[in-house]
């Protein structure tokens, strides 16, 4: 099976901090990492390949720097990599991003299962996976926490819901977005690291995938950012110190006074 995995390079979130004086986002020293949820998608794609045979192609859309994310994915077991990039794609919202990715995937004739992380940690929308599936006219299952069975033509998965899970069977090709619970990603092997170094990354621009540039980038995005601002910071409240009995009593009294309990 030709398995695809779509990933995104995001700022390493542990370093995202607010500059207390200016109240803005500190960007100095923020390294770019593979979106944490995509690591589970990569691992699951590689596991599926190990089970049913075939190859895994990892895809991302982004600036030239995003190549490092693709190489890391190869070191974790992906076989081939595609970087979708063009000035015409810059500033894309989730619709225009999904359009560019799905248009690129249409140039791959034989894909089976497509994996995505459930969402990216910078935008937190969880919209691109399902939108790509719609634009490719294939079904999708979001929030997958386990693959129970898989054949060349169908896949049975557990879809995580707020109150438990649903068991869903989907035909192949289809797209799955995965949650953290699905696996524990492996550490890149030495062989993988060597392969990553040598890999030739396939570059696809707007012309190569025959994209309608009216539907790409900022111009093709239905949503537009109007304003950016820093939310009011929560400031600490009251501190209770002393004997456990005393501070517990103080807290419960406070909560009762404010009708919280």
């Amino acid at each position: 099976m030709h398995i695809l995995v779509c990933i995104k390079q995001v700022p390493g979130t542990t370093n995202v901090q607010i500059d207390p004086e200016r109240g803005t986002l500190k960007r100095e020293g923020v390294e770019a990492i593979i979106n944490p949820f995509d690591e589970y998608a990569i691992e699951e794609a590689v596991r599926l390949k190990e089970k049913v045979g075939g190859k895994v192609t990892v895809i991302t859309m982004g600036p030239p720097q995003a190549e490092s994310a693709l190489r890391e994915a190869i070191s974790r077991g992906c076989d081939e990599a595609i970087l979708i990039g063009d000035r015409a794609f810059a500033g894309a919202d989730t619709w225009a991003t999904s359009y560019a990715i799905s248009t690129a995937i249409k140039t791959i004739p034989d894909f089976g299962v497509i994996f995505c992380g459930k969402q990216a940690t910078d935008g937190d929308t969880a919209q691109v996976g399902p939108s790509v599936a719609e634009m490719l006219n294939i079904p999708h299952v979001a929030y997958v926490r386990k693959i129970e069975e898989v054949t060349e033509n169908s896949i049975k998965v557990q879809r995580m819901m707020e109150d438990g899970y649903d068991l869903i069977e989907a035909p192949v090709p289809c797209l799955l977005t995965v949650v953290k619970e699905i696996n524990t990603p492996r550490i890149p092997s030495l062989k993988g690291k060597m392969a990553a170094k040598k890999a030739v990354i396939k570059q696809l621009n707007a012309a190569a995938i025959n994209a309608d540039t009216k539907k790409t980038g900022l111009a093709g995005s239905p949503t537009q950012v109007k304003k950016i601002f820093t939310p009011p910071q929560r400031t600490g409240g009251e501190k209770f110190e002393g004997e456990p009995q005393d501070i517990a009593a103080k807290l419960v009294k406070k909560l009762a006074e404010n009708s919280l309990i």
Partner: protein
Amino acid sequence: MANKINIDLDKCVGCGACESACPFGAISVKDGKAVVDGEKCRFCGSCVEACPVKAISMQKEEVQDAVDKSLYKGVWVYAEQRHGEISSVVYELLNKGSELAKTLNVPLSAILIGSNISAKAQDLINRGADKVYVYDDPILAEFQDDPYSCILADLIKEEKPEIVLMGATNIGRSFASRVAAKIYTGLTADCTALEVDLETRNLMQTRPAFGGNIMATILTPRHRPQMATVRHKVFKEAKAQEGRTGEVINKTIDAQKIINRTKFIGFFKDQTADVNISDADIIVSGGRGLGNPEGFKLIKELADLLGGAVGASRAAVDSDWIAYSHQVGQTGRTVAPKIYIACGISGQIQHMVGMSSSDTIIAINKDKDCPMMQTATYSLVGDLYEIIPAIIKEIKNIKG
């Protein structure tokens, strides 16, 4: 004409105010002057406002509307149901939706899709819906993306609402994306504030980005409808008014036309979660500070006493002390209860972004300087194994 941004190099003093104002890292000071990276710039205008010497100017491309917006009228709420019960987020959306509909002077409609659910239509009317579109069919008993997205997209094309609101639940987020993709319109995830600009009838959708460190106001200026998802507990529930009148429109589905490529096999309830953390009013969470899995017994005792749910930090989940479905934070669930009690959780940024919009935060920790203790409304310094039993005792005293 494309979007343009210009820096007047004579005026620019290289102070870097633009660099720190830019949410996309698209502008930086090089050799004493600001430089824009055209690949990253989204023309949001943050730098223009931030520049103290007015050296940055921006011209936005005039783009034609994608559709005739005047044909789109009315506010819709997708009335999500699961196992025949309306999700509480729907009542919250009806409250906000009715406010928006009043401002726009249009009706508020609810869309109900499921099986044996027609009786719920009156419930939605009582909560403020003027119209309810009902699709009641055995094949719609369980949520599946294909049929649900076909139905909603077709109805949108037919009736042309200007705003469609949905819960930012697993169901809502999954199929709203397909619907927006089908009709080529904007979808804004996880909005925390919604307001209407009466002049343009644009919905101003405010949402957190970059893990809640910044807020962005998003518009869908040229497309309709304007679609948005909203998390549980962001808005207050609409109060039920018994006997309120409204119109119920029963729709039938054309089984031939509806595609459904997936097969629903069954539902398996999470036996450990009596209360769903996404819509709980009170959450008691445990972290690494519990020291062992047994600590969750104490957490659960307090949660049960308060009628709340049990949450956990990533550290506790990764140590296999409790199931992943309880995890709060960036790689778990985002919650916004009335009271969040963090026991032995130091407050890593990834945890904080998942719970910092809770109304009241109570932290119990030995380390009074950890981020959670610094942020909490009430911080209790000490051993949680002494403090929690004392709190349980106090609450029992009050409750008699």
